[in-house]
Amino acid sequence: MKEYKRVWNVYAAWDYTREIEDLNKMSDNGWQLIKGGLFSNRYKKNDSMRYRYQLDYNPKIEDMGRYIETFREQGWEYVNSTFNGWHYFRKLYDKAGDDYEIYNDSQSLKEMHAKWQKEGIGSIGALSLLAIIELYFTIRYPRIHSAILVLTLLIEVFVIGRGVYVLRNPQRADGHKRSWNGAPVFLLVLFLGLASTVVFMSLRSSNSFNTKSEVYSPISSNIANAVDWGEVKVVYPDFYNFEVSGYTGSPMTFAVVNTQTGEAVSQIRIDSSKAKDGKKFKEAHNILLKRGTYKLYGYDFAGGCIDLHVSLD
């Protein structure tokens, strides 16, 4: 029979009483906690003891000695602390019924909850800010990975927000019916959201920025003779920003052409004379590109100097 065991599990902060129940159950089965942590707990087999556990959230303890002593004098043995401020305690279980609560009045329990809620609200604020920033970029430059990131952040904000709200009703760890533990599922969703964002970002074709400052002889309107500005390989359908800006001696047309179908998906004709005084010409199209290879072509040009920036990203 194994002497030590590590159990992987994760609990939401507002669901800490679920962890207390699990620790008590493990103790009844002979597994005593020796170290509690965020993602796993370590146990030692000892069938001769039974304990009842408690978790206290207190991230800013200045006098650890006084803290531990306050618990020790009422029979609570200190187990360990996590780096983010949760402390594990245990007391020998005596069926004659001692008190296994560490907070006896609702006000002090609410104060303990408020300590975590403050952190929760802080995270919600930071995540919401990130979500808003990313939402702006998604609207301005629609991209799949942007949209996934916004969605993931909003789900996180909602779950943590709900947790802060749930903590308003103090719950005691005395085994009333519990629904399934949402924390692992939430973490999985978060991981998938972030992972897919990264994957989509890296799979997205590399940008094709190109600035040329040259003199060109005339180019006909036949695409076969066009200037090749660059190529973009699209792996999955997504929105791309096709933009032309700068100066030309005379008007010129740029096109994004699907090399498989030969179809010109988008065209911009740059005409500097149309640009307002002093400001350079700039035009951008937001286009949905399907899977395939696309080339940027410049043609239909009477000749002259150009100083252009053409991009598809």
Binding site: Q54, D56, N58, R66, Y67, E69, T70, F71, E73, Q74, W76, F89, D99, E101, I102, Y103, N104, D105, Q107, S108, L109, E111, M112
Partner: protein, 104 residues
């Protein structure tokens, strides 16, 4: 001029101050005395106790001293400060005033 801030106290706070008004004590002693004085109605768990004592230390109502009684190990004791005594007296007067208005 210092004005004593008035605020109603929770039962735990009240009993902690009451116990300490009878003399310096440690957490366990306060807890036991509270149970006796409240006829078993009020219990102060460790979480509540640490929260309350931390708050009161911050408010300046109580402070920690180390007992130098011969024979006993150096035990941490809490003791009331002048502000704490004033705050407790104010609360007692408040409660007395409230109860005297009750005519059964």
């Amino acid at each position: 001029m210092k004005t004593v801030k008035f605020e109603p106290l929770s039962e735990s706070y009240f009993y902690i101050l009451l116990c300490l008004s009878k003399g310096a004590n440690h957490g366990y002693g306060i807890m036991k005395m509270t149970e006796t004085l409240s006829e078993g109605e009020v219990k102060i768990g460790s979480g509540t106790m640490y929260g309350a004592t931390s708050n009161m230390i911050k408010k300046g109502w109580i402070k920690e001293i180390v007992s130098d009684e011969p024979g006993s190990e150096k035990k941490r004791l809490y003791t009331l400060t002048t502000e704490g005594t004033e705050a407790f007296k104010a609360e007692v007067n408040r409660l007395k005033r409230m109860l005297s208005a009750v005519t059964d």
